[in-house]
Amino acid sequence: MKPKEYYVIYRPMVLEKIGDEVSDESLVLRILANQDNFAYLIRRYEDKLLRYILRLSNFSREEAEDILQDVFLKVYLNLNDFDKSLKFSSWIYRIAHNQVINEFRKNIARPQNHSLALDDKAVRRIAGDFNIEKDVDSGLLKNFINNVLRRLEPKYREVIVLRFLEQKSYEEISDIIKRPTGTVSSLLNKAKKEFRKEVLNLEAGKLYAEEEFGK
């Protein structure tokens, strides 16, 4: 009888080169095949999510990075739960959003004095959308919008951040905060009203201070 021949196939797990042309969805499949590919996902979303966490919360950068680490670990553990009917970005933003809410619950009495990670582009965009005077100094405008956002209730701030700073569509916001699109739409309308009210309050306060104490 002819002896059986055994072949040992050795395939070293070499990190593939994955460029931006590879979709998030196919990147997920590659991560499931080789965990090292998770590095690419981290690279794709690290800055976006960190900025989002900072905009959504009043956490310091260090705290936000800790939250982001937890977010990525959750993403990794739940990769098989990724719902292909959603955009991957909506799914990962949802995890970040939930993690921030969990952290909020743990730290209800925390001081709220950190900046909300607003860059010039975002500031100009939101100033344009809400007809806020844009001719003032960029730093002052940033502070002003930062103050307005910080005065909003979290439920209003999160939809304003998603719509005007992260530029997400209604469907994406619905998928991220897990609310029906109709609710997102009415929440956004209320949030815009609240934002405008706070703008007026702050401007009135500024005028009063100028009249009382001079510039």
Partner: protein, 241 residues
């Protein structure tokens, strides 16, 4: 302050703790469990809806216009509140379960509740048509301790001889125009039925009936109308030997 290398920290964490993505079947199982539980809640709610329909359809609506009664007080006194409450609770529970599924958040509360309610009524109607509602009502009427007060207030409404309403099961035929009736408190009444000879001749013993008329004495009643009584008929089995 140097920028943290999150990528390395996360990958190191994954390797050191030997973390691996949770298997797909765990998530599928959880999702199906929520849908399954939601479906089960819907079925139970539909059973409640079928009993509600049974009680409503057998409420002798034409009887409200008897002397000293009006439709509103009749409605308030006979509505099956327990079943309405059960349907509302189960509709909310079904919505909660659906909300836990992957796509559940896409349903607006009002539309989802309206959909669940309509579906409960349709399935409940089917159960009613199949006769399940009658089986449930009979069983509860026979065994549930506060049936006449909590489950089916129609019985209490009809147990008011002073206002001309009496309900009971026919025990025996006394004369050609009178019979003996056992009421909800197992008390015997001699009931004379106006022009009721034909009815008495044909009526089977043990049949629960609702009577409209007037009380003559503490154990005698004259009935001008005899109505059928479907719901609560199991109640009288309590008095059988």
């Amino acid at each position: 302050m140097p920028k943290r290398n999150l990528e390395n920290e996360i990958l190191k964490d994954i390797k050191e703790k030997c973390l691996a993505p949770t298997p797909r079947w765990c998530f599928l199982w959880r999702n199906y469990a929520f849908w399954g539980l939601g479906f089960l809640i819907l079925v139970i709610g539909s059973l409640a809806a079928s009993v509600l329909l049974y009680l409503v359809f057998n409420n002798n609506w034409e009887a409200y216009n008897q002397e000293g009664s009006n439709f509103f007080s009749f409605l308030i006194s006979t509505l099956p509140y327990l079943w309405i409450a059960i349907i509302i609770i189960f509709a909310l529970a079904a919505y909660y379960e659906i909300r836990q599924t992957k796509q559940g958040y896409k349903f607006q509360l009002t539309y989802a509740l309206a959909g669940i309610f309509v579906l409960s009524m349709v399935i409940g109607g089917l159960f009613y048509w199949l006769g399940l509602a009658q089986v449930i009502d009979d069983e509860l009427a026979e065994r549930f301790p506060y049936y006449e007060r909590v489950v089916n207030p129609q019985l209490n409404y009809w147990m008011n001889p002073k206002e001309g309403r009496l309900m009971g099961a026919i025990k025996r035929k006394e004369t050609s125009d009178a019979l003996i009736l056992v009421d909800l408190k197992n008390k015997e009444w001699k009931v004379k039925i106006i022009n009721g000879e034909k009815f008495i001749a044909l009526v089977p013993l043990g049949l629960p009936v609702r009577l409209i008329g007037r009380e003559i004495s503490s154990s005698e009643f004259i009935a001008s109308r005899v109505l059928s009584s479907c719901s609560g008929r199991g109640f009288f089995r309590r008095f059988e030997d």
